[in-house]
Amino acid sequence: MIKAILIFNNHGKPRLSKFYEHYSEDTEQQIIRETFHLVSKRDENVCNFLEGGMLIGGSDYRLIYRHYATLYFVFCVDSSESELGILDLIQVFVETLDKCFENVCELDLIFHVDKVHNILAEMVMGGMVLETNMNEIITQVDSQNKMEKSEVLTG
């Protein structure tokens, strides 16, 4: 199961955080900070998996992350998820964002938080991977957008 999905930039500013388990406000911030410290220390040419973070659950949990330009995408998962599978999921997520925003950048995440969350909701639902096929995801998101637009026009 996926426990949390975090996106932050090179300075540790959170750009998106989604927790699939309940933590208190403070703990959430602490998790983000700790994760950033763990991830930011690592070189470019080392592997994308990290163990040993203490805040979420302890030894059973792993961080799987990817670094794109200015952003870190981090998934906290337990041992029932496959590492490579999640790594692929991050790639799919980023590619989908890229398609939806046409050349996604950090600012898109800031100004369209709701859209990003909606895309994420099509991929991961309640901590479970729902869909890994980019075309499917985009179709879903598009149909929802279309419906909203039509409502706005008629309304």
Binding site: G52, S59, H117, G126
Partner: protein, 997 residues
């Protein structure tokens, strides 16, 4: 509004609380247009959690949206439901979500499946009846829905592998279809068809534990790193090891990581497989990535054995210094195991090495180390080994090195280490005769004066000083210390200082309290404090109030309050004699007399190391089978060590210097893994094999003798049943039983139906006080080569007894079987005198436990571990679990209707559900209640027209009330209890009982 909400989300993410906007988010979800609704739902799912009270306001909205014709609204509702939904509200929306399983749109079906999975996770009882629908989802024509349903099955099969055996074939079919490329192209990932789906399926199959895995699946399996499920099939393992090699060699760092992980799994099963990869592993050790390094160390740790331990430890200590902060916990784990390896003594090269290594570990690991590591180290020191001389040397060396450490700069040492040092000095410094006690005392006093020393350490130091203060020279130092700490604010320190003062002045008393070198003798602590009985009765006679345990006092306090929650005296009456006194322990007595040895415990540590090395290597057959396996890298390097010039000429291209070093390292690391006949660096393997052989021969001879004895004796035919009655419980059994036993044994039946016979046999071993009670079927728990464990439970009026039988089928007695039972939901207490049992050859030992419920659950489980040792010396352990339904703990509760009415209002936890009625008779209500009464042991209080009231209690005294009413052909049941979860669990059992009828 929408824009504002998005901003509130952003604020919340940055860590500023935006609770004022929560209610608006809910309003937005409720009232807005589709666009606004979506933002509203999103905000709700980010802001609130399952237990938030505002969530109740959302339930109606969700209900409305689930019924909507608009696909997107349904989707949104399902998403929010799966993110968070209050547990008590699930019944309200469950039918709607179920309905969505048949929705024509696959996206809706898929989301509904996941939502149901979420329900299953938070409230498994309520989703019981829709298992069939899950099956339909598994066979859905859309692969997405099928994938989603796999999540559920993985979970359910993990919990109950037996129940889903029939589905194995469908899983295999699905897997074959996936591998055969029957899925749409979209699912391919780098031209492998749906790898993640395959992993999921393989995991499920692993739990189904059937061997349907064919070769091609196996190959794929490795590609996806799913090596874990494979580890039970050795034939495939050897092939897989080759593939893993490629992984580890891979330049892609992620693959390297996975390869190492896989190799670790494999090596656990077959250490020899690591030989193929030794050079790769060595390279990984020097890898710049810490995570890779860590994995490598873990791998090395798995192959540790007698001959390579020192090299491996050295390697570990090096990065230990560097990345201590990163993963200290893992390392301390290593160290613990090194400790145990030393305990076996054949392992560590010598005393000096051991003490020095441990010193490094302590000073580096410092205070981040778990407290049991120093404890087990001290235990090791105090218990010693076989030879007295060796013990003395070890302790002497420890004293020497610690004194020199203290003479250096003790301020830098971590607290834990100081505690260890002071204990060792206190206990053993007398061994070094030329060392005066006063010198040690002065060193210790110096520790006390340091600012950084914590008060815990100080009390350790004072303890040590108490042991040392003997006569003459030390007096001035001790006096000074006593004066300083005699008035300390810390009560523990003050106590220690007082002890020190008194004992230093009174030599005789000191000799009695702290006899030298006697830290090991087990101390008998009178935990019932019977010597105080006189004092207590005197005080009672003088009018003092009897002692009350803290929880009793609290309950009374609660009762005294005006708004009492449980006014009906259901609090258990605790007899003073049994509970209150026994639970108390005299702190002074314990602390003075026992020293430290009572706090050292080694329980629960798995025995991974045996005298012959890593325990999985025990079988001699395997050893001999691999004698011929050449280890390609090892042999040249070893030759090189034997005669370096010759090896230079033998190899056509001379290996460069660093390469050679690595090879040397490799040979020292992997020594002992390969064939036993190979040249051994430390010259120890020869002796071990010899010893091992001799032992095996001895065993064979003795067993031969025993069998011959058996065949001579007339009783040989009924050897299985000719059991001696052992244990105190058994002595009460009447002699007629024994005769019965004899009759059974004489019967020729044993050869035809051994199981039944065994059951009969065991039944005769039930303790006498249970003879009248009905007991459950005796179920086998687990079977070892020599020991059979089985158990049954008995329902007594006021308790539930669990009886574990241990049947020893071997020819030798097994002593000291330590049985430990534990459970999340139950409280387990042993009725026997001691948890240690002895099983004589071909006889049965019986352990008795009494169980009470801590936390109600539909099924409760007791997990047990038995550790035992053969006379020959190798320790074993067996694990088993025993499952009982909650109904075994239910007893009727006899109350009158008035009492019932009064109790009803006081209970806070309730649940309601409609149950099917048994309608074959004239009076459906009475019939149904009678069935429940019979099956669940309920007490029917009264039946008035269409309504009935029933009462029961959960052992010991947790009441649960049930109110039933006939309504439109069904029985609506309302359960109430002061205990959370109890109504839910009981409802489940009622449902089952009626279904079974």
């Amino acid at each position: 509004m929408k824009e504002l909400m998005v901003r509130a989300i952003y604020c919340e993410m940055l860590g500023y609380e935006a609770s004022f906007s929560y209610i608006h988010a809910i309003k937005l979800a409720q009232q807005g247009t589709a666009l606004e609704k979506r933002v509203g739902y999103l905000a709700v799912s980010l802001f609130l959690n399952e237990s938030h009270e505002l969530l109740l306001l959302l339930v109606n909205t969700v209900l409305k949206d689930l019924q909507s014709t608009n696909l997107i609204e349904v989707c949104m509702a399902l998403t929010v439901v799966s993110q968070m939904f209050p547990k008590d509200m699930i019944p309200a929306i469950l039918p709607l979500v179920e309905e969505k399983l048949n929705h024509p749109k696959e996206i809706i079906r898929r989301k509904a499946v996941l939502a149901l999975y979420k329900f299953y996770l938070i409230a498994p009882n309520q989703v019981q009846h829709i298992h069939n629908k899950f099956r339909k989802a598994l066979c859905d024509k859309d692969p997405g829905v099928m994938t989603a349903s796999l999540h559920i099955y993985l979970q359910m099969i993990q919990e109950n592998p037996e129940g889903y055996k029939d589905l194995t074939t469908s899983f295999v079919t699905i897997l074959k279809q996936v591998v055969g490329g029957k899925l749409p192209m979209d699912f391919n990932y780098h031209s492998v068809p749906a790898p993640w789906l395959q992993i999921q399926l393989l995991r499920i199959l692993l739990f189904c534990s059937t061997i349907f895995l064919c070769r091609d699946v196996a190959a794929l399996c490795i590609h996806c790193y799913c090596i874990q499920p494979l580890s039970s099939f050795p034939a495939i393992l050897y092939e897989s090891a080759k593939c893993i090699g490629n992984f580890v060699l891979s330049l892609k760092i992620n693959l390297k990581y996975l390869g190492l992980k896989a190799l670790t799994y494999v090596v656990q099963q077959h250490p020899k497989l690591a030989l193929q990869h030794q050079m790769t592993i060595i390279e990984c050790l020097d890898h710049p990535d810490l995570i890779i390094k860590r994995e490598t160390l873990e791998l090395l740790f798995r192959i540790t054995n007698a001959q390579n331990v020192s090299v491996i430890v050295e390697k570990m200590l090096d990065p230990f210094l560097k990345i201590m902060l990163c993963c200290c916990i893992i390392y301390t784990l290593f160290i613990v195991l090194i400790l145990f390896s030393y305990e076996e003594y054949t392992y560590a090269p010598d005393n000096e090495w051991f003490i020095e290594t441990m010193s490094t570990v302590f000073s580096v690991g410092g205070d981040m180390m778990q407290p049991d590591i120093p404890n087990s180290f001290l235990k090791l020191l105090s218990e010693g080994f076989d030879s007295v001389e060796e013990d003395r040397k070890l302790r002497l060396f420890a004293v020497d090195s610690y004194v020199s450490l203290l003479q250096g700069e003790p301020g830098k040492l971590p607290q834990r280490f100081l505690q260890v040092i002071s204990w060792v000095l206190g206990e053993y410094s007398y061994l070094r005769e030329e060392l005066e006690a006063a010198t040690v005392l002065r060193l210790l006093a110096k520790l006390l004066d340091m600012k950084s020393t914590s008060s815990e350490t100080k009390s350790w130091v004072l303890m040590a000083m108490t042991k040392l203060c003997e006569g003459g020279a030390g007096v001035s130092v001790t006096q000074e210390v006593c004066e300083t700490y005699g008035s300390s604010l810390d009560t523990v320190l003050r106590q220690r200082a007082q002890e020190l003062q008194h004992l230093s002045q009174d030599c005789e008393l000191r000799a009695r309290v702290l006899p030298r070198g006697a830290g090991l003798e087990p101390l008998e602590v009178d935990s019932s404090l019977s010597f105080l009985d006189g004092f207590v009765s005197e005080a009672l006679a003088a009018g003092a109030a009897p002692y009350k345990a803290p929880h009793q006092r609290q309950e009374e306090l609660a009762q005294a309050k005006a708004l009492s929650l449980e006014p009906y005296g259901l609090s258990l009456p605790i007899s003073m004699s049994s509970c209150s006194i026994a639970d108390r322990q005299s702190p002074t007595l314990l602390s003075v007399s026992s020293g430290l040895s009572t706090t050292l415990k080694l329980d629960g540590v798995k025995r991974v190391w045996g005298r012959e090395g890593y325990l999985s290597e025990r079988e001699p057959v395997e050893e001999s089978a691999h004698v011929e396996v050449p280890s390609p890298l090892q042999s040249p390097s070893q030759q090189g060590e034997a005669d370096s010039s010759q090896s230079q000429t033998l190899t056509p291209i001379p290996t460069p210097q660093p390469e050679q070093e690595k090879q040397q390292l490799a040979s020292s690391l992997f020594v002992g893994l390969g064939s036993q006949s190979s040249v051994c660096l430390m010259g120890k393997s020869e002796s071990t094999t010899q010893r091992f052989r001799r032992k095996a021969k001895d065993l064979a001879v003795s067993s031969l003798e025993q069998t011959s004895q058996l065949s001579q004796g007339p009783a040989a035919a009924n050897g299985i049943c000719d059991v001696e009655l052992t244990g105190s419980d058994m002595s009460e059994t009447s002699p007629t039983l024994i005769r019965d036993n004899g009759v059974v044994a004489a019967d020729p039946a044993p050869h035809e139906d051994p199981d039944k016979l065994k059951d009969l046999c065991l039944r005769t071993h039930l303790p006498a006080e249970f003879s009248g009670l009905c007991h459950s079927e005796i179920t086998p728990l687990c079977t070892n080569q020599t020991l059979d464990f089985s158990a049954c439970h008995l329902q007594k009026e006021d308790s539930l007894a669990l009886v574990v039988f241990i049947y020893n089928s071997s020819d030798s007695d097994i002593q000291e079987i330590l049985l430990e039972l534990d459970s999340d939901e139950l409280e387990v207490s042993c009725v026997c005198d001691s948890p240690v049992q002895e099983a004589r050859s071909h006889s049965v030992a019986v352990c008795q436990y009494s169980l009470t419920v801590k936390r109600p659950s539909v099924h409760v489980e007791v997990v047990g571990t038995a550790s035992y040792q053969f006379p020959a010396g190798t320790p074993h352990s067996a694990q088993f679990s025993y499952k009982l339904p909650l109904t075994s703990f239910i007893r009727p509760l006899t109350v009158s209707t008035e009492e019932y009415g009064a109790m009803w209002l006081d209970f806070s936890h309730d649940t309601k559900q409609k149950l099917t009625l048994i309608s074959d008779g004239q009076e459906p209500l009475t019939d149904t209640l009678n069935v429940l009464k019979k099956k669940l042991q309920l007490h029917v209080v009264e039946i008035i027209g269409m309504e009935g009231i029933v009462a029961c209690r959960l052992l010991r005294d947790q009441p649960c009330l049930m109110h039933c009413r006939l309504h439109a052909g069904t029985l609506s049941v309302w359960l109430r209890s002061p205990v959370p979860d109890l109504p839910d669990c009981l409802m489940y059992h009622c449902q089952r009982a009626l279904q079974e009828h």
